[in-house]
Symmetry: C3
Subunit: 207 residues, 3 copies
Amino acid sequence: MKHIPHVSLITVIEIVAILVGAMSGFVEARRKRMDLVGVFTVAFITAFGGGTLRDILLDVRPLFWVEHQGYAILIFVLALVATPLVRTIRQIVSERIIVVADAIGLGLFAVAGVSQAQAADMPVFIAAMMGVITGIFGGVLRDIVCNEVPMVFRDGKPYAICAFFGAWLYIALQHTHVSNDFALWFSAAFITLLRLLTWKFDMRINR
Amino acid sequence: MKHIPHVSLITVIEIVAILVGAMSGFVEARRKRMDLVGVFTVAFITAFGGGTLRDILLDVRPLFWVEHQGYAILIFVLALVATPLVRTIRQIVSERIIVVADAIGLGLFAVAGVSQAQAADMPVFIAAMMGVITGIFGGVLRDIVCNEVPMVFRDGKPYAICAFFGAWLYIALQHTHVSNDFALWFSAAFITLLRLLTWKFDMRINR
Amino acid sequence: MKHIPHVSLITVIEIVAILVGAMSGFVEARRKRMDLVGVFTVAFITAFGGGTLRDILLDVRPLFWVEHQGYAILIFVLALVATPLVRTIRQIVSERIIVVADAIGLGLFAVAGVSQAQAADMPVFIAAMMGVITGIFGGVLRDIVCNEVPMVFRDGKPYAICAFFGAWLYIALQHTHVSNDFALWFSAAFITLLRLLTWKFDMRINR
């Protein structure tokens, strides 16, 4: 239990990642012509699905969003406000901004996931997997609810793989003399930059 | 922990709601041309899925249907009997009866869900959400297994919203001088009537 | 808690069943043209999904694959190796071999599932259901992730039903004088043979 970061840092990380996830859920739900209930639920699942699945698998309770009902209320209010405005939002918010925000979310979620798994004394490979699950399963559950084959499993783009490499970087940095806070932020930034680079150059992994 | 109703009342509520859920599952599974195994499983998931998801999120065990295996056996026997008879049943049971039964189930499930979440000391907004989850996620999981975008997320009808309003009514009534039993039944009836009214007048919420 | 088999036997059973499940996941994921991430995840879900769902429903932790990270690493390595080779593998491995391996996995998973449910003091019908869930829900979750109506719910073939009969056979044998190890292997073999017989003669159950 030695490498647990300050709770406050993890909390900040998760809040940013949650808002980015919710935005991605709003867009997808509107693309599927869902109503207000669908928009809220899909945004909620996208934002909290990865962390919730991780906590169910690890048997950690209370869930983040159960303990801090403010986040659920925030997404609820955003869904009420955003649903009529989504077309306008999509005209203002370019695809580039969505990709950047999503890459930031991926880095933050994945590193937070590794950290939480280590706090639950998981073996190292499982901790790395839990980081990737936290990073990608919000989107996976979003796609399942939207009745699509999850994008992250079929587009050949190294999305989960960026999270996987960053999870191992974080684990490796814990064995150096850098502080855990530095290791957290550095690894999250690494994932974000790696994701943006692979997106910029449209890299694909061998199918 | 002050507003927990008598266990017996909650039990009666859940039994009625379970049977209604199972019926809805039978109909959907047959519509997708599923076999006996699919009919049983989809009926089971529709009947118990919402409450099971709530209990997993709250970490409550044993699950209702695990503790009382009689309900699982009941649905099993109904699936054996109902599968060859479903066409006949659908000729006898009109859409109107299905909608009415489903509206009763929605009210009962949602209020039971709020009550269970309060028994687990959940914050108030999460308790209301758990009521809605209990009320609608049986149907959501049914639609996911049947490979459809969940109806409740896309038809624009105020189904989940009726449950949400009723959940808050139940919570509000707990702060009045009415008995908890009255608050339970009154809120469940409110949800059922609101749902039937919105169905009768084919109301849609703003997309 | 009297009929718990030796841990070692159950462990061997689960390992064989996991490898068979992973293979089925590889094939399905490639059929849906998934990339490396999808192939790994679908193989993992197919192999561990049934047992994981059972353990979440029973609230048993740590999960098998969390405690023994070797299995996750094994599937990871297999995914890395298998993805480029899957076409070759499918030319070598005929459908017949896949069906036989899958029938063995079904028997082993189902009996292990009953045994685990009994270890958690479940009532007898729920224990039989948990056996079937362990046997079939890996494939069900695989099909949901692959955006298909689960095959086991719609093809009318007695797949789950073989597991169900075998689960009851195992439960019945516990009340005879045979050893629990014999009961385990005999019931697993019974399920495998019953499945292969019904496949050989293309039997269907009444829809």
